[in-house]
Amino acid sequence: MPTTAPTAHALADVAASDSTLRRFLHGLPGVDAVGLEARAASLGTRSIKTTAKAYAIDLAISMVDLTTLEGADTPGKVRALGAKAVHPDPTDRTTPATAAVCVYPDMVPAAKEAVAGSSVKVASVATAFPAGRAPIAVKLADVREAVAAGADEIDMVIDRGAFLAGNYVKVYDEIVAVREACGTAARLKVIFETGELSTYDNIRRASWLGMLAGADFIKTSTGKVAVNATPANTLLMLEAVRDFRAQTGVQVGVKPAGGIRTTKDAVKFLVLVNETAGEDWLDNHWFRFGASSLLNDLLMQRQKLATGRYSGPDYVTVD
């Protein structure tokens, strides 16, 4: 049974025991899958042009968590990524910096050094990312190491096995423990891996579970499975953070990750944010894109708007 309630709000007691937590999560209204997808699709048809597009592109760039999560990551690659995060387009210094670089825990020192003196944060995945299949002690050690190395944000994965088995309290306790390990130094993003949760109902439950346990951000996926961020599952999570703030007064951020590759996609997500959660979330403190190749497309579109000519991959860096 969890001993500490992370925040004293109206819903603080739903996690008092396994049964109250289960009752609460299963008492959430079911998701109308067809309606959800239709809503996400219809918001995707908005036409965003000229000055609104320029604003959206700069906003999207400032929301990118520039990510490299490969076994082959080297300190050199992380340094290059950090330099790009600080000055995404060296030919145009009016380009905003990205929100953060996202790396594995052992690369945090290199990343920290690369973005020193800028507004760019260092996010580190932890808790045996991406599978999350490790003993809790190992996961917590992973988190503490990353925080000690200077990570400003921790991206944890939930135990999908426990979640799918219905052991919600285990997932809850784990998030609370990681939240404590982050202390005040780091914001916590909780990754649900929506592609493995099977149903929209599960995504809604996971969202509430994560927020109840004290997540600063809820994040769709690791980018390591077939289905990553989609407009529909992001819309669902945006509804959850909106409702959570309405009930508790606590604002939680959202981060879709994986599979967002074009400016068009990114702008669609921003429309979802504005129409669902509202303008308060249109800020990189509350909304992020977990992406790598997206940034180049945003930069090419930005160059197109600035010069009137279509740009090409020769005019952005190869990562």
Binding site: Q303, G308, R309, Y310, S311, G312, Y315
Partner: protein, 301 residues
């Protein structure tokens, strides 16, 4: 009993981009007529976004096509001729309508176009030997030059010669490993759009040739200014000096190779083309390789 009065099935002409047959992103179409002004078909009126999509498709296809062996490219080009042979009747009809020719004259043109594919198919694995080679230099080096494809080439197809002229500008571009974004003849785009269907069934990877129909000036401007297009063939801007000049200025921005429009009539298209259109879209790469000091140690060189 008399033949029942059958409704004929009209063909929907579509663009050919990235191996697929999309309509214009803009949803627009325009009417195409024959020489006498009779309606033939509605075809897509491409926008600059269609042009952009075509460039993306062409860029994506460039790696594999330029990396394919010259022999393989020759086989594919020959295959295009084979496929065209099977659809000769259709092209004869379309060319006759488009250019106001008799059936026999149109047949001559279509045959010449088919033969042109075969002619360029033969060149794919020979052009390197003809324009590349070892250079004599005064030093202990091997010095080798070899031609390499330029990249994505925007091709404005000739306005008058809707099929033979078209084939004569596409084939040399792709024979050497470039990929092409082709703007079909504005008034007579039907043979070009049908050629897309032939290319799709000829083992030619999707995106190597992309065919757009519409207003040449409208589509050509963004292509000429596009930073990811490496060269432009202005054959189709030949009747409009103002347009050709404007496009040349836009193309200068990223140092595109530009092939200026040359005065040609139908007779010129049917002449043996020579290698000029191939070499116009090749870059020469020269490699210096040290051989060690000659003579000093009794080098075998």
């Amino acid at each position: 009993m008399s033949e029942p009065n059958r409704l004929s099935v009209f063909k929907t002409y579509k663009l050919y981009v990235g191996g697929k047959f999309p309509r214009s992103e803009s949803g627009r179409v325009y009417e195409v007529t024959d020489k006498k002004g009779n309606w033939l078909a509605n075809v897509p009126l491409s926008s600059r976004k269609d042009a952009r999509d075509a460039v993306v498709a062409a860029r994506k296809a460039f790696g594999a096509w330029s990396g394919a062996t010259a022999y393989n490219r020759g086989q594919v080009l020959y295959r295009i001729a084979e496929m065209l042979e099977g659809r000769r009747e259709q092209f004869v009809r379309e060319v006759a309508d488009a250019e106001g020719l008799s059936k026999s004259k149109a047949t001559v043109i279509v045959d010449a176009a088919i033969d042109r594919w075969v002619w360029y198919a033969g060149w794919t694995d020979k052009i390197t030997q003809v324009v590349g080679g070892g250079n004599p230099v005064a030093g202990p080096y091997f010095n080798l030059s070899s031609p390499e494809p330029t990249g994505v080439v925007a091709v404005l197809a000739p306005q008058e010669s809707s099929f033979l002229g078209l084939v004569s500008v596409i084939a040399p571009v792709i024979a050497t490993g470039n990929t092409a974004v082709v703007v079909a003849s504005e008034k007579s785009p039907l043979p070009a759009l049908s050629l897309g269907e032939v290319l799709a069934t000829s083992d030619l990877p999707g995106g190597v040739v992309n065919v757009l129909s519409g207003r040449t000036a409208e589509i050509a401007a963004p292509l000429a200014a596009h930073q990811d297009v490496n060269a432009i063939d202005l054959a189709g801007a030949g009747n409009d000096d103002g347009l050709a000049k404007e496009l040349e200025i836009a193309a200068a921005d990223n140092l595109k190779r530009v092939l200026r429009p040359q005065p040609v009539d139908e007779a010129d298209w049917s002449a043996t083309p020579g290698t000029d259109r191939m070499t116009a879209f090749l870059e020469t790469k020269t490699v210096w390789h040290p051989t060690g000091s000659l003579g000093a140690s009794g080098s075998a060189y």
